[in-house]
Each structure stands twice: as C-alpha cells, then as structure tokens.
C-alpha cells in the first residue's frame, strides 16, 4: 500500500464535486429551469459545445442559444441518465466521461431513445468547478417504436450506427 498524500484526498473531493455538478446540471436541464440561467451559472465564458448533428458552438451566449433551440423545439422531454463516470483531475483542470441513456420526446411528439458518450472538460474558477467543454457523441437517436437496428437515427438527424451489418450471415 502506498502512502496517502493531500493530493489524493483533494482528488477524491474534486471527483465527487464534479460528478455532483454534472448530475445537478442534468436534473435542472430535465426540469427545464431555463438554459440562460443554467449555462450562465454552470459554464465558463469560453465554453465549447459540440453535439454532432445537434450543433457546435463557442462561448456562453452561443451555447445558450443552441440549448434554447434544442430544448424549446427539438427535445420537449428528456431524462438524462448518466453512467460509467470517469473523472480525471489535474490541478485546476479536469475531464469527465460518461455514457448516457436519454428517453426523450421530439418536437413532433415522437418518443425516442438517445444513447451516446459525453466527454466534458472542467476548469476551477474562484474555487468552483465550471464546465468548459461539453461534447456528446451519439450512438443512436432511435424511434421508440423501431429501435437502433431498424432506424438508428430518426428522420432529419444525420448519423450512422457504428457496427457492421454486412458481417452477419443471414
């Protein structure tokens, strides 16, 4: 067993703080408290957002606009359930990775399953962790009635499921 030092304990506290920050962010997103307030208090000014087919932005204002568009028009209901957290802390910077499973309702009232991988960046600002990078890579965004083989991405959302159907012997 190696010696425990102060950095080990600080890292544990930071990992815990970052996990709670992100889970709080998800609950508030799903409750639709308003993207302005949420992004303003949780993100750095230079936050980068990239969710592939849903858009890419730089800076708080652009992120707020994109989030408004998504949550007011494209995803009327969401439940962001995150799993498999891996947080790496390096002083006042950190990264976090999660899988997410997100039952949602689209703008035209369709139930969809979204699954994918979040990779986030964080910076400690005045002692508090803030989100500096927010990326999501979709595995699928499928119609609940169809599933990820028949229709991995609903109409209007470009994407492909990463597997090789040609390898299957029928």
């Amino acid at each position: 067993m190696r010696n425990i030092n102060q950095t080990d304990i600080q890292t544990l506290l930071d990992k815990n703080a970052i996990e709670e920050l992100v889970y709080q962010w998800d609950y508030l997103t799903d409750e639709r408290i308003g993207s302005d307030e949420l992004i303003d208090s949780f993100c750095t000014n230079d936050v980068i957002y990239d969710a592939g087919p849903l858009g890419r932005t730089e800076g708080k204002e652009a992120f707020i606009e994109a989030a408004r568009e998504i949550f007011d028009k494209e995803l009327l209901f969401t439940r962001h359930m995150r799993h498999n957290p891996i947080i790496d802390v390096d002083g006042d910077e950190a990264t976090g990775k999660w899988y997410a499973d997100i039952p949602s309702i689209t703008g035209n009232g369709k139930a969809v399953w979204i699954q994918g991988t979040y990779e986030l960046g964080f910076r400690r600002v005045n002692g508090n962790w803030k989100i500096s990078k927010y990326t999501f890579e979709f595995s699928y965004m499928t119609d609940f009635a169809k599933g990820w083989v028949k229709e991995p991405f609903i109409e209007g959302v470009p994407g492909e499921l990463n597997w090789q159907p040609e390898s299957i012997e029928q």
């Binding site: 067993m1 190696r2 010696n3 425990i4 030092n5 102060q6 080990d8 304990i9 544990l12 990992k15 799993h83 498999n84 957290p85 891996i86 990775k97 899988y99 499973d101 399953w113 699954q115 991988t117 595995s139 699928y140 599933g147 990820w148 083989v149 028949k150 499921l161 990463n162 597997w163 090789q164 159907p165 390898s167 299957i168 029928q170």
Partner: protein
C-alpha cells in the same frame, strides 16, 4: 502524509485506512467503467491487461473460461459473432475492500445487436472479484448473470432470452 494532516484527520476519527478504502473503491469503479468503454470499442487487448493471469470468467450462456488466454479467445469470439454492437451501461456500484482483495457488484443495462442482427436489450448483474498486484487492481473473477436478453420488439415478458440461458 504530513503530521499536521494526520492530526486533523485523527481529530475527526478518520483513519488513513478509511481514506485508502475510498481511493480503492474509486480505482476499482474506474477500472470497470473503463473496461466497459473498451469492450464497446472492441479493444480486447487493453481489457485483458486488467485481468490476472489465472482469472476466471463465468457468464452463463455467454460462456465460461479459465485463464487470461481463454478469456481473450472467448471475448474475441463473442464480439465477432454474437454481439455486433454493445453499450455497457453499469449502475449501482457496491464495492467491498478487504486489504488486497475486493468484490464489486453492478447492474448492467446494455442495448446491443445480437448475432442475427436483431436489436436486443440485455440486463443483468456483474459480480467481480479483484486482487491488488504490485499496487494495481486486477480482475480475478468475472461473473455475469443475465436477467434478460430480449429482442427489442418483444420485451422481457414475451421472450426473456433470445438464446438459451443456463444462468
């Protein structure tokens, strides 16, 4: 650990063993989460580095294997023939540490594509044992018990298993 810090911890009756346990729990969780990401990317070589040489794998209908080479073979075959797409999402970690040994338990929810190209939901329980070797945690025994492996279109009441399951 410096004297001042030890004194502070002792005042609160937190021992260094308690802190070590927290660090070990985090290390084991991260080991397993990282393996889930690696398996889903088909990176079996990297996954195998986290197993002990004499590790045992017991997954009921998905197969059983003893020793790292046999486990590698089994995983490669599974990913090539029976699971074309997987997203291993694991929840509710319970980790028990006992010195250089540990047990970890998780639920799994795994959207997948089966060998016949059908979308399936897999749900089940992992119960792994770990051993600390040269300061690093390794998987000693890998156990998975499936609750269901059901076609997406049917669900776990109509067709609990798409394949015969002995577990």
């Amino acid at each position: 650990m410096n004297q001042e810090m030890s004194e502070q911890i002792d005042k609160k009756k937190i021992s260094t063993a308690d802190i070590q346990k927290l660090l070990d729990k985090v290390a084991i969780k991260e080991l397993w989460y990282n393996n889930c990401y690696l398996i889903d990317q088909g990176e079996v070589d990297s996954v195998m580095e986290t197993f002990t040489e004499d590790a045992v794998m017991n997954t009921g209908a998905f197969g059983n294997a003893e020793g790292r080479d046999a486990i590698r073979e089994m995983l490669e075959e599974l990913l090539a023939e029976e699971l074309h797409f997987t997203r291993h999402m694991v929840h509710m970690p319970l980790i028990e540490i006992d010195g250089d040994k540990a047990i970890g338990k998780w639920y799994l929810d795994c959207p997948s594509i089966a060998g016949n190209g059908e979308a399936v939901w897999t749900q089940g329980t992992y119960k792994h044992t770990f051993r600390r070797k040269n300061g690093e945690w390794k998987i000693d025994k890998f156990t998975f018990e499936a609750s269901y492996v059901t076609p997406y279109d049917k669900g776990w009441a109509k067709e609990r298993f798409i394949v015969e399951n002995n577990g």
